[in-house]
Subunit: 180 residues, 2 copies
């Protein structure tokens, strides 16, 4: 998961990356990420929700959501492992922001409860996992990509993806669980 | 926002509630919520993501996601206010769970950073806002509904919905902002 922080400092300078169109995700767009050659899948923001979570520690405070294309969502809902080729998972990470406007309302509704609402602020990065057992045979059948403002992170960043996901091998390298 | 906590203790005992099918959301299902007569819109879990957030304070620790039907999502993306009739917004709330499996990986990736991952656990409740300016003229054009395990909260709970949303009048009573 080093890519999470690396992405914050990644310069996005790349050379020789090859284009790759994610299966079942329409026309990909922009610059391809290194190693795996994945572009931002078109329409990923329209995909269905897998789950939401948040991350805290040090300077890192993020609200996060994971979306899946049709192939991925179907597999999640059916509890099907490994994920079939064509599955693509998107992880959207935003800096979290304490919402004063929400908190004012919470204070009225629950006086003294001290409820605090943290909402999605500035986008930090968007990450993708693309299942293609043939193309990505050496990395568990998954390709990985990390984008900040549409620009892919560098090669060093992308080298961290698979080692980080290896502990989730028994779940086909996917950490996120589907939230009912 | 009293309904958030009320929903945790709501008995779901209702009488005389009338069925209401949310426009543009397919066949609604189950028991109708009081006052507004809204049933759980069919297929709402397939709707697109508006945003994600989390709530902390006292015993309340929730991971949350808001989804919108096609009418709502289109309005959010276009920044269109007020929302047109037929817009339906779903707010999914889960108890948050500290993820040991994620944290182990984070510790390896970022030694000493103390990163903690909080994921969606048990569902707490699901809430809906249904726009129908004629039907819900007295409550800003919105009907409100709160369900826990598919059972609607009681009338007292649903009486708190509109007063809570009134401070967001300038945004057509909707607190959530679309996350890019």
């Amino acid at each position: 998961m080093k890519r999470i922080v690396f992405a914050l400092v990644a310069t996005g300078i790349l050379a020789g990356a090859t284009a790759y169109m994610a299966p079942a995700s329409g026309q990909a767009d922009g610059e391809a990420a290194p190693i795996y050659g994945i572009k931002v899948p078109a329409g990923y923001r329209d995909w269905q929700l897998i789950s939401a979570n948040h991350l805290m520690g040090g300077n890192v405070k993020q609200v996060r959501a994971q979306l899946g294309n049709d192939v991925a969502i179907k597999a999640f809902r059916e509890g099907k492992l490994p994920f079939p080729d064509g599955a693509v998972i998107a992880a959207l990470h935003w800096s979290e922001v304490l919402s004063d406007e929400n908190n004012k309302v919470l204070d009225v509704g629950f006086p003294g409860a001290g409820l605090q609402s943290f909402v999605a602020g500035i986008p930090v990065n968007v990450q993708f996992m693309v299942k293609d057992t043939k193309k990505y045979a050496e990395t568990g059948g998954w390709g990985y990509a990390d984008f900040t403002n549409g620009k892919p992170g560098n090669e060093a960043l992308h080298k961290t993806c698979f080692p980080c996901h290896e502990p989730a091998k028994d779940r086909d390298y996917v950490f996120t669980r589907y939230a009912r």
